[in-house]
Point group: C3
Chain length 151, copies 3
């Protein structure tokens, strides 16, 4: 059902990133799947680098959050085999690389939240924290981590 | 029991914030409840805005953490119906909007932790992370998220 | 098995920090153990203080992450009695006190991740988020929190 919805939305999950030595893109433990913090990488390139509110606009950052959460889903699929096994999106945390005085982190995070709602419907309604941080890996504009539960 | 304790402490839980489109104030999944990151909103107004250690004193920030964790409890109550269903406060994360060189995040976080202990006693003893961030939504002085387990 | 591995690696877990009033070093709830955010304290002294990329080198910060994750394990041992009861390291979050423009948080976090792999092998492969924050308690270079599952 959710896989079909992805198709309808014409969203293509990227190749799952290769597991690195010591940590992995996602892990299932009992009823839960935890993803690692995902950057807005698309085709091996950062979709948005720099501070939101300065080098990166709110709209660009929303799009980056959208891409990062797709990478979360790709990481989950690499563990579960299919997104159809997801019962509920439980929690996301959206870290926004924020310029001084930038306080629209929730608007940026909507780029992730709204996509989850589009794909998963009721099962996509989640708890969320959005915070502004001073630096992110590779100077990414956002980083998103996600917890889901499994049917 | 915990609801009664709230009364004794004369703490009034605010009206639960309306669920927003894509994310919700709190979510129960199995034995756990996750809240969204809560700001120190009181009667629709931020109780403390600005950087702790500069525009906001440590004492004001402690009070803001106190208010934010009350909003966490309100979010949980909106899901469980009653705080008496809480088995244990599991974990809180306290994000402190910190001025340069401000390192008393744990003192600020005590404003949340001590209230949980007052209300829940042994069941209120929790794991905690307190970190300093550069920006928060609406320029709030603190943001608090909470995980609890359900009886 | 994991306790034996610690011995082979000649890693001595420090005395568990005394539980503080309102929050505790770690908490077990059902199948999970959550630690509080741990600083790189060694013999009561911070192993690395200051901003990574400025006062603290990447190598020093890696070592600090190594020490902080040892403190996470010590906190877990205080709850479980033995690390041999750990089933899986589930998730770590590494907060790096970052100088302006410092973006090697994942390299710093490897100081924690690689140790977990050394000690726990397959059971040490975890999900991870690494973010740069502007301030940390006591001006610590890193703060690490950990979630594990119990056999």
């Amino acid at each position: 059902m959710f896989e079909k919805r992805l198709e309808e939305l014409q969203i293509l999950l990227p190749e799952t990133p290769k597991p690195l030595a010591a940590y992995i893109p996602a892990l299932q433990i009992g009823k839960f799947v935890y993803t690692s913090g995902q950057l807005p990488m698309k085709n091996g390139v950062l979709a948005a680098a720099g501070k939101v509110g300065k080098e990166v606009s709110t709209e660009e950052a929303q799009n980056a959050a959208h891409i990062a959460v797709i990478n979360c889903l790709s990481a989950i699929k690499s563990v579960l085999g299919s997104l159809d096994k997801i019962e509920q999106i439980v929690k996301i945390t959206v870290f926004v690389n924020s310029a001084e005085g930038y306080t629209d982190q929730p608007v940026v995070a909507n780029g992730a939240s709204e996509l989850l709602l589009q794909i998963f419907g009721e099962a996509g309604k989640h708890a969320r924290s959005a915070v502004g941080v001073s630096e992110l890996p590779r100077n990414a504009a956002v980083e998103v981590e996600l917890i889901a539960s499994v049917k």
